[in-house]
């Protein structure tokens, strides 16, 4: 939208200390205009503190926060053009919908007719034109959500912060709201910063996601990058499901590494990172279940399997049926449980517990990280 090189939001070496605890530790990032940016991390990782610093409710211990290129560290929260949708929405129960939305405009000293006009307009844009005179408690969960966003958007903020606003909704509604939020963001074309611990929310909606852990950003990237090319073991483990083993390096050649897991299983892996490990060093190994193929009989003879493949035999321990996302748990000969995605058609040749199977996956999809 804007051609200027100025970013909507820029954080430079932002830290926040509570006593000796570093809740946010030297975080730097920039967010391009009009994008949907998520900060994803487990609870207690510092993401809420970071958001509160952006909104102005906490002062950073050091570092700078710039909005549209201007530092806002000295600006009080009510003067920042950063609006926030709170976790429990924080709609004002003593005002009706119209008054809730008009509140910010009144604070800005807008005229009565302008308020009227803009409230109507924003209600139209969120497709709730008839609720202006309802009380807050008369709204459904999804409607409240949209009103909370409208209340911020009517003020044309530079950045909209959303603090896990879907947490309180039930599953179906949450799924629907994910899509709706994304659409709203497109419609308003405003930078959204979305904070969550729920990876599916982050992956589905975001243009970019930052993975946060113990006060620091582990990786920033598109959802696909994070999923397929995690930089760290934490990201690999946190984003998406994985089979995870620890092991030691048996042989290393460039990024092709042969390792042996602690249970004694030999695996061919691809090393992530630049430092080639020494033989005998510890590594963490991740394989996503959808990359593992389950076969009753090997399609080829043993000898034909590529050197770059991993292959092992096991017995199905249990089926985890979940429609299109069904899985099997396979017990290997080394007595480890391995998850693999399967397609269950409901026919007679579906896999059953007790079946002997072969598991095959490619070394490219076997990520290993130095510990």
């Amino acid at each position: 939208m804007t051609s200027s090189p100025v970013h909507d939001l820029e954080c430079i070496d932002v830290s926040k200390k509570f006593g000796s605890v570093r809740a946010v530790d030297n975080v730097s990032f920039t967010i391009p205009s009009g994008s949907f940016f998520s900060i994803l991390g487990p609870s207690g990782c510092g993401k809420t503190t970071l958001m509160r610093m952006i909104a102005g409710f906490e002062d950073p211990s050091n570092g700078d926060i710039k909005i549209k290129g201007k530092s806002v560290v000295e600006t009080p929260p009510n003067k920042r053009n950063v609006k926030m949708v709170f976790q429990h929405l924080a709609l004002f129960p003593m005002m009706n919908v119209y008054e809730n939305i008009a509140y910010g405009l009144r604070c800005n000293g807008a005229s009565k007719s302008e308020i009227e006009h803009r409230v109507r307009d924003v209600l139209d844009r969120i497709a709730l034109p008839d609720v202006a005179h309802r009380e807050i408690h008369q709204l459904s969960g999804g409607q409240k959500q949209r009103i909370a966003i409208a209340r911020c958007m009517v003020l044309d903020p530079d950045v909209l912060l959303l603090d896990e606003p879907l947490g309180a909704l039930d599953l179906k509604l949450r799924e629907a709201m994910k899509i709706e939020l994304k659409l709203l963001q497109h419609q308003f074309n405003t930078t959204f910063i979305y904070i969550t611990h729920d990876q599916s929310e982050a992956l589905v909606m975001s243009d970019h996601v930052a993975i946060m852990n113990e006060g620091q950003f582990e990786q920033i990237g598109t959802p696909q990058q994070l999923y397929h090319a995690p930089n760290t073991a934490f990201v690999a483990g946190f984003v998406g499901d994985s089979n995870r083993w620890s092991g030691t390096v048996a042989q290393a050649q460039g990024s092709d590494v042969k390792v042996e897991t602690t249970a004694g299983l030999p695996l061919n892996c691809t090393l992530i990172g630049n430092n080639v490990p020494l033989v005998g060093e510890g590594v963490e190994i991740f394989v996503r279940p959808e990359f593992i193929t389950v076969q009753r009989q090997l399609a080829k003879t043993d000898g034909d399997i590529d050197a770059g493949h991993n292959q092992l035999e096991g017995v199905i321990d249990s089926l985890l049926f979940n429609g299109a996302n069904s899985r099997v748990l396979v017990r290997s000969q080394t007595n480890q449980l391995i998850e693999a995605d399967v397609t269950l058609t409901g026919g007679t040749d579906d896999l059953k517990p007790g079946d002997a199977v072969h598991l095959i996956w490619h070394a490219q999809q076997t990520m290993c990280f130095r510990t």
Partner: protein
């Protein structure tokens, strides 16, 4: 079946003491008061029914002036208690830590452990011409002559505010306690100044607590007896004193009962007006705080 009977029985047993209390100690005595207030003495041991006692009240400016004075001073006390109590309640509910909170509540409660009379005498010891405050001021050289702080309306108001402020703080704390902090933050975030947030968000949210605190404080103040009598000056009549005088000194139970009923009616009217003006309902305020 049996289960249901037991449930009903326990409900009745739980409810009975309350019903008895209301009926025996509140409804019946008040009905008695109404009946008594409608009796007029025409000769020794001869009575007639009529509105004479109420007519007497209307015809005697001293009486209704005292009632109006009691009412307006009680409103002032209520307003002061609210203005002083609100920041304290806000601090206790929203700012103080969990432990400090208990301690602060306890501090507010301490004055209630002492009887009204002792508290009033405490004020007298402090404020009299030869009392602590006057002596300290003299000793420090701020004043040359001893000053009498007692026996004026300001002292009465101070004493009353001190006595009733807890009853303002408690409902305020419990209402403010339920307020989500993010509501205040949202108020700032959307561009409100501190004053706007207070006026448009905190106060409206706390309104049920404010109203119920004000009702309790107003009723307690208008019905208080010892503090205004002991701290009051030569001109400070209080309506309860009138009632006492009618009952005890002048043996005029009939007019005392009428006065008592008028006080009840007057305070109820003020409370009703207050509820109307703030747009609250009694159920709303009582349920929320």
């Amino acid at each position: 079946m049996l289960q249901k009977d037991i449930k009903r029985l326990s409900l009745i047993m739980l409810f009975t003491p309350f019903a008895l209390w209301i009926a025996l100690l509140i409804i019946i005595p008040h009905l008695g008061m109404v009946v008594l207030s409608l009796r007029e003495k025409v000769a020794p041991r001869v009575y007639e029914y009529g509105l004479g006692n109420y007519v007497d009240f209307m015809n005697e400016p001293i009486y209704w002036n005292t009632l109006l004075r009691t009412g307006s001073m009680s409103l002032l006390v209520t307003a002061l208690a609210l203005i002083i109590g609100f920041p304290i309640a806000y601090y206790i509910a929203k700012i103080a830590g969990y432990r400090t909170r208990g301690a602060l509540f306890l501090l507010c409660l301490i004055p209630l452990w002492v009887s009204d009379l002792i508290r009033a005498f405490g004020w007298i010891l402090l404020l009299r011409e030869t009392g602590v405050v006057s002596s300290v001021l003299q000793w420090s050289g701020l004043i040359g002559e001893p000053i009498e702080f007692l026996y004026n309306d300001i002292t009465v108001i101070v004493g009353l505010v001190y006595t009733v402020i807890l009853f303002m703080i408690v409902p305020l704390v419990s209402t403010l306690d339920g307020m989500d902090e993010s509501m205040v933050e949202a108020g700032y975030n959307l561009g409100g100044s501190g004053f706007t947030v207070l006026r448009r968000i905190i106060v409206p949210y706390a309104m049920p607590g404010i109203v119920s605190g004000c009702i309790v404080v107003f009723m307690l103040t208008a019905g208080s007896y010892l503090t205004p009598i002991l701290l009051g000056g030569k001109n400070s009549s209080w309506f309860t004193e009138q009632i006492y005088e009618q009952f005890i000194t002048r043996f005029n139970w009939e007019s005392g009962a009428a006065f008592g009923f008028l006080l009840l009616a007057f305070t109820s009217l003020v409370v009703w007006l207050g509820l109307r003006l703030t747009g609250q309902t009694l159920a709303n305020t009582v349920a929320k705080s």
